[in-house]
């Protein structure tokens, strides 16, 4: 180590309330790293991220003329930006900052071994100091952004997002796979909780979208490819499945609002397949279409049994709750009760999840005669035909001491939830990950709820997870806000922590080209020689190309080979006893 002018580094070790200090002896850690080369200030702090601590760091940086900052706290995912901001506000280069994770990777992982956790913290921080000592000032890459957005999906979330984007002055391309805009809501009649007609809502939105000059609609269309880099993507869209020509549009952001599918029960699942056993969407369509007494295949319906949580909350199956189905079913049962004629309605449920104001519908449905029976988790209802060909639903009613009840029903409604739409192609072309539930994943439900790990690709509506119509609209507008926050500025800053090629050393073997998952590396001619060139705006700084280069011609800014070696060396030093 050494060789450079000695750096002046400030190190702050965070208690994180007790998250770290309950297991790591923070005072000891500070004492152990205080005399590391380059360390000028070493302190502990209850919450490094608290504004007062940030102010203290800024004061220290300025007073002690520090030129490097290390904070040992939580995951860099949470606070790298926070403390780079501190460095910037203090007037030093933000990329001299190193975050050392002594929470997720230490205190939380070693709750049974405080001494070991303390040792580990010391090693990790020494590594962080070593890295910061070898940092070089870097400037973020500023790219101009295209003030246009692409919305994929023309359901209620996509339509509303498109209008929202246009409202704030952005040009919008709206791509819908189907022939018609409108998605699920476009097929619904009266919806909860405001008794608005789904078709009318959609008609209004479609008229609005069609009337806006700044919105271009492609129906029967699909996103086929995406190229370019952050803020300036080129989307290739195939219009009318049969046309070979692709339309290319330049966009700064892509909002995915591709919606959901409904769960399709297996044949025989709760009697599905038997005449008179229908899913919730099938039932909703029946109710929407009824103005007189409810009938099924021409037969009057006098008794309905609803079986909740079909295809949801199933260990080993779809474990999640679909959130909207309780309220939707309760609402449908009220609609049925309003129809002429008297219908007995039995709801066989696990938990009725009419959260918030929807509780009022649950109350109303009971007042209108619906009977609710909770069945034990391990004794789901059974649906069968009796000798006379009548549908019989057998359940155990918890409220009456688990008594077995058999309900002769004219109609059995399987309250089916949402499942993720099968979008493999889209996922593939955008490299978009999904969660264990199969829905698109946001980066963080609270910090970055509509952003995905793919820069510039946002998610809205039920493609992220079950949502009702109003919630989908809200998330669509939240995506508008996020897009506008980036695109309205006209420029965006990108991390400069990208790979670079020393052209003189490159032998153009091509290994890096295949290693790059982002297609950021291309062949280029430098001084008459063909070498690899990395597009800094496309490179994500994953480092995948660095080890494959046989000539050691590639280095990753901020994580250079020299830095990584120094980190390893420091971490391997014997910790001070």
């Amino acid at each position: 180590m050494g060789g450079t002018t000695e750096r002046r580094v400030g190190v702050y070790v965070c208690h994180c309330g007790g998250n770290i200090s309950d297991y790591v002896d923070v005072e000891r850690v500070v004492a152990a790293i205080r005399d590391e080369p380059g360390v000028v200030v070493a302190k502990n702090t209850i919450f490094a991220c608290a504004d007062a601590s940030q102010s203290e760091m800024i004061e220290d940086i300025q007073r002690h003329k520090l030129d490097g900052l290390v904070v040992a706290s939580c995951s860099p995912k949470l606070h790298t930006t926070t403390f780079r901001g501190v460095a910037a506000r203090a007037g030093i280069n933000p990329y001299t900052y190193t975050q050392v994770n002594i929470r997720e990777q230490d205190s939380w992982a070693h709750t049974d071994d405080p001494a070991g956790a303390t040792h580990k913290a010391i090693s990790l921080i020494k590594g962080g100091i070593a890295r910061t000592r070898l940092t070089e000032p870097l400037e973020p890459l500023v790219v101009e952004t295209t003030r246009k957005a692409l919305v994929v999906g023309g359901g209620i979330a996509g339509l509303r997002a498109a209008i929202g984007l246009a409202d704030v002055g952005l040009d919008v391309f709206l791509v819908e796979k189907e022939r018609e805009l409108g998605g699920w809501v476009g097929r619904f009649g009266t919806m909860y909780p405001h008794e608005r007609d789904g078709r009318e809502l959609i008609d209004g939105l479609v008229a609005e979208v069609r009337g806006r000059d700044s919105i271009t609609v492609f129906t029967n269309a699909e996103l086929m490819a995406r190229s370019g880099s952050f803020g300036n993507y080129v989307a290739a869209i195939r219009i009318n499945n049969d046309l070979p020509e692709l339309v290319h549009v330049e966009v700064g952001q892509i909002v995915l609002a591709t919606g959901f599918d409904t769960y399709q029960p297996e044949s025989g699942e709760f009697g599905y397949g038997i005449d008179g056993v229908v899913t919730l969407p099938e039932f909703k369509a029946m109710v929407d279409a009824s103005s007189g007494p409810l009938t099924y295949h021409g037969r009057p319906v006098r008794t309905i049994a609803y079986i909740y949580c079909v295809g949801n909350r199933q260990p080993g199956g779809n474990e999640y709750c679909s959130k909207y189905c309780c309220a939707a079913t309760v609402h449908a049962s009220i609609e049925v009760a309003k129809l002429p004629g008297s219908v007995h309605q039995y709801h066989l449920y696990r938990d009725i999840r009419t959260y918030g104001k929807y509780e009022l519908m649950y109350t109303e449905s009971r007042k209108r005669g619906s009977v609710y029976m909770k069945f034990p988790e391990d004794m789901p209802p059974a649906v069968a035909l009796d000798a006379s060909g009548r549908l019989m639903v057998t359940t155990h009613d918890t409220l009456t001491g688990g008594e077995e009840v058999t309900i002769p029903a004219d109609l059995v409604v399987l309250v089916t939830g949402m499942v993720p739409r099968r979008n493999e192609e889209l996922m593939g072309l955008l490299k978009l990950p999904v969660g264990t539930d199969g829905f698109f994943n946001e980066i963080h439900p609270k910090l970055r709820p509509v952003e995905t790990v793919v820069d510039g690709v946002l998610i809205a509506g039920a493609c992220q997870g079950p949502k009702n119509s109003a919630e989908s609209v809200a998330s669509g507008l939240a995506a508008v806000t996020q897009s506008a926050a980036i695109l309205k500025k006209g420029t965006a800053e990108l991390d400069p922590l990208v790979a670079t090629v020393r052209a003189v050393a490159c032998s153009m073997c091509g290994d890096c080209l295949t290693a790059c998952p982002y297609s950021a590396i291309e062949k280029a001619e430098v001084a008459g020689r063909e070498v690899a060139a990395i597009s800094p705006s496309t490179c994500k700084g994953c480092g995948g190309c660095v080890p494959v280069c046989p000539e050691d011609a590639i280095d990753l800014r901020g994580y250079t080979d020299a830095q990584i070696r120094a980190v390893i060396d420091s971490m391997l030093e014997e910790p001070v006893a």
């Binding site: 919450f47 007062a52 509509v450 609209v473 508008v480």
Partner: protein, 905 residues
Amino acid sequence: MDYDALVVGSGIGGMESALKLGDMGYKVLVVEKEASVGGRMILLSKVFPTLDCASCISTPKMAQTIHHPNLTVLTYSEVEGIARNGDGHFKAKVKRKARYVDEVACTGCQKCETACTVAVPDQFNADLVARRAAYIAFPQAVPKKAVIERQGSSPCTFACPAGIEAHGYVSLIRSGEYEKAHRLVLDATPLVGTLGRACYAPCESECTRGSLEGTLPIRRLKRFISDRHVESGEDLGIEVAPPNGHRIAVVGSGPAGLTAAWQLARMGYGVKIFEAASEAGGFLRLAIPSYRLPVEVVERDIDNVRALGVEIATNSPVRDVEALKADGYEAVLLATGTPRSTGLGVPGEDRLGVMGGPEFLRKVKLGQPVDMAGRQVVVVGGGNVAMDAARVARRLSATSVNVVYRRGRAEMPAHHVEADDAEKEGVQFTFQVAPVEVVGDASGAVSGLRCVRMALGEPDGSGRRRPEPIKGSEFVIPCQVVIGAIGMTADTAAFASLIGLGRNGALQADPKTLQTNVPWVFAAGDVVNGATDITRAVGEGRRAAHMIDRWLTGGMLDGFDRRLPVVDKAEVLARQKTYTIRPTAPDGVTLETAPHDFREVEGGLTEAQAHEAAGRCMDCAVCSGCHECVAACPVDGCIDLQARDQELEVEVGAVVVSTGYRLFAADLKPQYGFGKYRNVITGMQMDRLLAPTRPFNTILRPSDGKVPERIAYVMCTGSRDETVGNPLCSKFCCMYSVKQNQLIMGALPLAEVTVHYIDIRAAGKRYDEFYEQSKAMGATYVKGRVAKITEKENGDLILRYEDIENGGKLVDAEYDLVVLAVGVQPNRDAAALFPEERLAEDEYFYVAEPDEDLNPGVTSIPGVFVAGAASGAKDIVDSILHAGAAAAQVAAHLERTQAKAKVPA
């Protein structure tokens, strides 16, 4: 226009809307009523379903909010009203509540907090523990700056005519800081011991505790610190400015003159007091009897003044005020009081045996012989001097003492305690009687007082019924001594040529500035106002010193009375639902029916009594005015208790209402015993017990600090419950309970957690999985609403419920700790923001979103938007998405209306 948007409230919803609008390039003003941004989320432990620590999510947003170049944040401020202009913009009135701490200068060192003597329930710890009146909201507060909570003046302090910080010294006594308490009184007047005995304590009449078991003995607490100070032998310990070379003459050494001299001397003036009598102290030394106010106490107080270098020249009547000027005194204060008694104005008043009350008292106090033994004494008058004279006469072995007063007992101006005590000491009273003539014997000595009986007619100007003589009702009271105590007047003949005189020879001075028609002559106290009492005289003396200093330093003659408005006692009492009636100290007065000496009749408080008494103080104004914070603050001038609220008016293009929600007040479900059973806590309190900034270092139950092993959750407390008027579901209580279950099981591996629920509403991304995880960890979920909770003697709790899943038996289950999963209530402050135009609420008083299906965040007023839980129960994820949507709506509105704030410099 000043800002594109005003965001009211900086909880997670408000911050999200503001940040996103700022990111889009709009100028945003954020107004937060608390001292820190962050709302409720920052106070939570971890958040579901990711178990992120709430601080980790909140702090970066809080820091971003405060540092964002497009955001201006006003904390500890309130939006008082928003009105829409004709052009669609809004005018908003914002009150910047006085923090009493300079927001820029404060370093967040918390020394004021440590020094503060007032503890109040800590709203940021869900009232589990106390915080100080001077406080930083919580460890991660942004900005991390102290505020001092002052709700006004405490009634006791406000009532004191002397301007003594009564609440302040009471709270210092409570903290055991007797010397500091003494110094706080000294800050107003040197007469601590005197006032501790002879003040009529208007503070006590106003004490809020008076409507419970009884007022605090505030006066006797003052005596306690005075006595303690004397015992301790400590220095006065007060700050005195270096001499400034200016000289001031004070004429008269009564309470007004002594106090003025004291204050002026502390400011650095050279002060000399001229006293006509042979002893200094005015009425304190020469009238008030020693059984009420011992001479040595007065002399000690006067020594305080001398200790500052004030010279007191006795036997030095001032006959020529201008001569003082000629002697180099730059200002003169006349405070000569009302030394003369008013004559009876009846024939025979020059007979031997007739004397004025003040003259009589003076003789006694100067040790001059007054022979009362074996004589019948009549005292004429119903004021305090009459009471003093009567009681002194009793002590001088008069055969009988009869007080004759022309009106009834209720109309007597004497303090009721004085009259009661006089009666207990054997003084007789004859009411509705007026003297007509002093009857004498052949030698010319008094032999009786001829009186006429009076009838009470219509009320006069003073509101008291006017006494009128009843013809033919005359009679003679046989007596040898008549003491006239019907009034006192000033002796101002010597000043008459220079200063204007008013009624009864009173000096004329401006009641605010106390300046006379001669600019360098000021007049204060009874010589201006007629006979009043000690505290008023002290107050006048302080005012005179202030004004003289202002005048000499060329300042405006104002700024003396800077009291905050008095707090409303009803509001103070309403802070708590119930109060424990606490024992009061005995009054300490020993009276004899035939007293023979001048021993003090009242004893002091013991330290234990003083401590107990001070402990009953309700801290009406929260801040007591003890000034400990000012002394502790290392930054000069940072704390300024004279700071006042500031009003601000801004014009904005749009408004975001993000005022959040209130938590259900759990005591509205009396069957669950919250507020009565200490081990019944709310979900918010449990979150505080689990938070990294938790008040204790573990989960414990409040009654005995035991770590609970059996913990129950009562879901839907105040939600889905028509009996409390809230049929709605609160949405997040199931999930926060599920979260807490997991955290508890992590922290207390041996604890059993049982959840009594109706439905578990784990509706949301990864919520149901989170619920399953809690069951897998061992939490037990029992279906059915809890009927009632009762408490056992050891603090354990019995939950009664119908065990639905096991045959419907009634079950009594025992737990160590019960957590009520309280839900949300609307925050009706939201609608109150718009006094001129109705902001529509839904039927349950949340801000209505009339077009929620397509336009979340849009309210009934164009340009006004709602973000987060102000529009209905939302968890954090919902609030953030909703706030993001609201920001899109604001942006659309601003683009549509083409409003744009000028970039602030």
